[in-house]
C-alpha cells in the first residue's frame, strides 16, 4: 500500500512526462458527447476534484464506485491482479469466470449506466 503510494508520487514528481496522455480519438469524441472534458491528465479533473466531494458526482464516482470496488473485490475473492493476472497465469478456471464478470460489469457501466449517470447529474 505505502509502496504503491510512494511509487505513484515518485513517478509523478520525478519521472513525469509533460506531454498529455494520448487517448484514442474515438474515446475523446464519445466522452465529449457525454460532457466529460478530456484534459490530458491521467484522470478528468472535472470529475476527480475535491469540490465534487459533497455533490451527486462525488457520491456516485467516489463513494459508490469505491464501495463497489472494495465489496466486489472481496466477494469475488480477488481483483485484476489476483484473478486476471495471477489467476489466469496459474490457469485457474474460477479466475477466468471472475475476469469475464469484471469485463461484463465494466461494459455494462460504460455503455449502459455511465451515459444515464452523466445525463442525470
Amino acid at each position: 500500500m505505502t509502496g504503491v503510494l510512494l511509487g505513484g508520487i515518485v513517478a509523478t514528481q520525478f519521472l513525469s512526462d509533460p506531454a498529455p496522455i494520448q487517448i484514442s480519438a474515438n474515446t475523446v469524441r464519445d466522452l465529449e458527447a457525454l460532457h466529460v472534458q478530456v484534459d490530458g491528465n491521467l484522470m478528468p479533473a472535472s470529475i476527480f476534484n475535491m469540490d465534487n466531494l459533497f455533490t451527486m458526482k462525488g457520491l456516485i464516482f467516489f463513494v459508490m464506485g469505491g464501495f463497489l470496488v472494495g465489496f466486489g473485490t472481496r466477494y469475488a475473492g480477488g481483483c485484476t491482479s489476483g484473478h486476471s493476472i495471477m489467476g489466469l497465469a496459474g490457469l485457474q478456471w474460477p479466475s477466468l469466470v471472475a475476469t469475464c464478470c469484471f469485463m461484463a460489469g465494466g461494459f455494462a457501466m460504460v455503455h449502459i449506466f455511465f451515459p444515464l449517470i452523466m445525463r442525470i447529474i
Partner: protein, 169 residues
C-alpha cells in the same frame, strides 16, 4: 526451517488460508522492518509502472471498455504471459522464497462470489477508473480526492465481512 515447512505444506490435515488473493504462508518470523522492506521495494516499482503505463488512468479504462484501443489489453495480456512464464519457472526449478520456503500456488475453488462480486467490481472499476492497487497510485499521483474512494472501498470490504454469512457463495 526448510524441512519443517515442507512437512507443513505436505500435510493434508492443515488447512492453508485461501481467503486472501495474495495469501502469505510465510512461516519464518521476521522483524517488522525487514519483512516490510521487500514489499516496499516491490510496491514502489509497482506504483511507478502503474503511473508510467497509464493503467491508473480513468480515460484508459473508458477506452478499454469502449474497445477503442489495444493499450489496456496489451498491458494485461503481457502481464498474464509474464505470469505464466514466472509460475512455470518457479515450479520447474522449485525456486524458493527469500526465506528458503517453498512457493505454494493455491487452487482457487469456484463460488458464486466470483460471478456476483466480479460483476460488482467491474461496475466499480469502470466508474472509478481504478482497481484496488491503482487507487493508491492515483492518490500518489496527486488526485487526493481518491482518498475518499479508498475509504469507501475499505467500508465495502468491511461490509462484505459483515454480510458474508448471508451472501450466496
Amino acid at each position: 526451517m526448510q524441512k519443517i515447512s515442507e512437512e507443513f505444506y505436505n500435510n493434508p490435515l492443515i488447512e492453508h488460508p485461501v481467503e486472501c488473493e495474495a495469501s502469505n504462508d510465510q512461516l519464518t518470523r521476521e522483524t517488522l522492518i525487514s519483512s516490510n522492506i521487500k514489499y516496499l521495494v516491490v510496491g514502489v516499482l509497482f506504483g511507478i509502472v502503474f503511473v508510467k503505463g497509464e493503467i491508473i488512468s480513468w480515460y484508459r479504462i473508458q477506452e478499454m471498455f469502449r474497445l477503442q484501443a489495444f493499450h489496456m489489453y496489451g498491458v494485461i495480456g503481457t502481464a498474464v504471459v509474464v505470469g505464466i512464464i514466472s509460475v512455470w519457472l518457479i515450479k520447474r526449478f522449485k525456486i524458493r522464497t527469500m526465506q528458503g520456503e517453498m512457493v505454494v500456488f493455491h487452487k482457487k475453488e469456484f463460488n458464486w462470489g466470483n460471478v456476483i462480486g466480479g460483476t460488482m467490481f467491474g461496475l466499480g472499476w469502470a466508474i472509478t477508473g481504478a482497481c484496488p492497487g491503482p487507487l493508491f497510485a492515483q492518490i500518489g499521483s496527486g488526485f487526493l480526492v481518491v482518498i475518499i474512494t479508498f475509504l469507501s472501498a475499505l467500508v465495502g470490504t468491511w461490509f462484505y465481512g459483515l454480510l458474508r454469512e448471508r451472501l450466496p457463495h
